[in-house]
């Protein structure tokens, strides 16, 4: 399953890149993120409480950054175990492209997601919609934070 989207940001590429590497930013962007701790340059430990309808399960796992190409983009991969619910992982290839006027940037992403165990066995009808929703939530709130910060106080 492939999910693609892009956003126009009225910010420089460097500014967006910095945010992409700021764990506070990331934490606030990850839907239902309860804990995010940096373990190394490229690895963060995360705890997310995922709620989909009546289901409510805590996933614990890692977020890793790879294919790092400052300030052009990286791949951010989250994988977590949800106990009896199974496991889920999602990987987003994020690309930053400076627009012609240099004052704005296009952030595009391509997500692939995978689920294991009970969520795959019982929730197949919801996998794609949920993956789309979560990636939209993540990038949506990431972008909104950036936009909000950019507004004059």
């Amino acid at each position: 399953m492939e999910i693609k989207n892009s956003y126009e940001l009225p910010l420089s590429k460097e500014r967006v890149w910095a945010a992409l590497n700021d764990e506070e930013f990331l934490k606030r962007s990850i839907p239902w993120c309860e804990k995010l701790e940096r373990r190394s340059e490229t690895e963060l430990a995360a705890e997310v409480k995922l709620k989909i309808g009546p289901m409510s399960t805590r996933f614990t796992g890692n977020i890793t950054l790879s294919d790092i190409d400052p300030p052009n983009g990286y791949t951010i991969t989250g994988s977590g175990k949800g106990g009896i619910a199974g496991a889920a992982s999602g990987s987003a290839k994020v690309k930053l492209l400076e627009n012609k006027d240099a004052s704005s940037t296009t952030l595009s992403y391509e997500v692939s997601a995978q689920v294991k165990g009970k969520i795959a066995q019982l929730g197949s009808r919801l996998i794609q919609s949920t993956a789309k929703k979560l990636s939209k939530n993540f990038f949506g709130s990431f972008v909104k934070q950036l936009e909000d910060m950019d507004k004059p106080q």
Binding site: A87, K116, G117, A120, Q121
Partner: protein, 789 residues
Amino acid sequence: MSEGIGASVLRKEDKKFLTGKGRYTDDINRSGQTHAYFVRSDVAHANIKSIDTKAASAASGVVAVYTGEDVAADGIGGPICGWVVPCRDGSPTKEPPHPILANGKVRYVGDHVAVVIAETLAQAKSAAELVEVEFEELPAVVDLESASSSAEIHKEVPDNCYFDWELGDEASTDKALESASRVVKLQVKNNRLVPNAMEPRAALAEYDDVSESYTLHTTSQNPQLTRLVIAAFMFQIPESKLRVVAPDVGGGFGSKIYVYAEEAVCTWASKKINRPIKWTADRTQAFLSDAHGRDHINNVQLALDDNNKIIGLRVDTICNLGSYLSAFAVSVPTYLHGTLLSGVYDIPAIYTNVKGMATTTAPVDAYRGAGRPEATYLLERTMDAAAREVGMDPTEFRRLNFIPKDAFPYQTQVALQYDTGDYEPQLDQAMEMIDYKNFENRRSEAAKRGMYRGIGVSTYIEACGIAPSAVAGALGSRVGLYESASVRVDPTGTITVFTGAHSHGQGHATTFAQIVSEKLGVPLANVDLIHGDSEKNSFGMGTYGSRSLAVGGAALVKALDKVIEKSKKIAAHLMEASVEDVEFNEGKFAIAGTDKEKAFGEIALAAYVPHNYPHETLEPGLEESAFYDPLNFTYPSGAHIAEVEVDPATGVVEVVDWAACDDFGNLINPMIVEGQVHGGIAQGIGQALLENAHYDENGQLLTASYMDYCMPRADDLPSFKVGYTNTPCTHNDLGVKGCGEAGAIASPPAIINAVIDALSPLGITDMSMPATPLKVWKAIQDSQSVAAE
């Protein structure tokens, strides 16, 4: 009304089921019982780096936690493969080990990693969540066509190929294909199914440390074989130290033939903890770990001469056998499939090659029909494709190629010899039942309503009554396939029958009693059947392959003949006549030419109260056993015709009519036979229109509940018209052939042929199973865009 052979008597077993008094494995409880829950792999393929059971072991209520290491330390073996075949290159079937708890590696989602045994099921589940398994993931192997070049699943199985087998004469077949005036080519896929007996598998295992013996209650179609495999091959204990009971079993359809890891683990562990252990699958576990069915890709080439007569058939098959070789996995696509490729047709040259592949999916084994539905599907789809190509009505094309009725016994080019059959009257009758000749009127009427109506025919044969042991043995079976029966006559003349067959819906308590009633002239109410308990029943091979009556019933007749023979001697003594003069009719022994007679009950009494008895020549008592090993398979055949309507706006296929005319030989209880036909057709309709086990590319089973695996429900199906012809089987005393699988074998191609016929005005010539609304709609869309171009 007669209660004997041919009477539709009501079933003796029904009342207990109807009043909730059936006793299935999960209904049985023992004091001190514990509950097992299995930790299963949630990845398709991985090395196990570590399993940490500490937290689970310490959890509330936990009695024990075991892993594959514990099993290996006790030297417990895995389930064996019951049938192997030689490969084309002369090498044997590759048989990788199949540990009952994974040892170092997992090979499908659902593979057993550990077992947690606790005081309650809830505690076992909670503790199972605490078992930490670290996997090193390996690539999943899901796609059948690329399996040979994918990641290695077992080191013992190069190229993920368990076997590469052939049957028939390749040279003469290829020659026929070369010289043919037309070669019809077709690729068909047989979708993967989950048997879904409504009762999930379950086990209750106990160990008695005084007698040092185990008792296992389990959901099995053949408890005696389960005992043999667990005792002799897995545990290496005397078979007498294991009693296996299959009480009431809620359907099997093949999936309960095999010995599974769970029941073996529970049995093994019951000794280790010295307490009874109960395990019951929930439905999702059943989806993950029951043996699945079918999953073939067949490439077919059919050679025709100038007169549209078939002169050759070549079928190249690859089949998905999953992560481990299940007990009869190897026989299904080979000797239960390749040998059926002649169908009901006179085909002078046949060759088939079958590659059995390993993938990281659940093991695949027999499911109702087992091999024969796959053979029938490819053949009947090809017959329709050929008829279309040569511009003949599909029924006429079939008639042209039927084995003529004077050709029996008929030797096929693929090893079997059909003893009897007559195929034209079956087709005639089915066509009459569905009013075939006026179909085009119905098609036009439907077209006025905007619907596409189609009709589809399937004329099938199956080999069942499995099986002559010598033949099966020569073909790779590691077991015999006879059946046993014992008849115990009580002093008052009531009778208990013991059979090695097992009833899980087939109604043996009734049919077997009818045979007794017919032979001994006793009322049905005086006959009881005991089955499914290795401590009570003689060794037998259980129920599958439509064999219970043709093999088990024949054994029963032999045992009854022995009872009658002995009774005659007793009667002769009592009536002071010679044995040769004793005639037995309708429950009475009479001396020819006199008015002397004795009722069967009087003979029984004399046998057990032998005050006046020929002690010099006869033992007291009246109890006889017999084993019966058939001389040949039986060959039921028939014609099924489906009529469907397709809604082009939604792609929905509705089955609007069904006619089935089958030849099962003699019928013991027509009511039960008809029920078997209905059930088989429903499962075939399920395969053709609704059911599909879908693994994603990572080997996750996405159809693991009834939310996504589409089971046929009442409103998906029509009522069925069922009729019969009869060419009695020549080699068993009852003249019976077997009826359990026919519907499931015959029906899928009838439907798909009907769907293709319905859509033929759009130029559609292919449709794969299941023909879901999405798929049918898409085919219609594609045909329209092709037409537009």
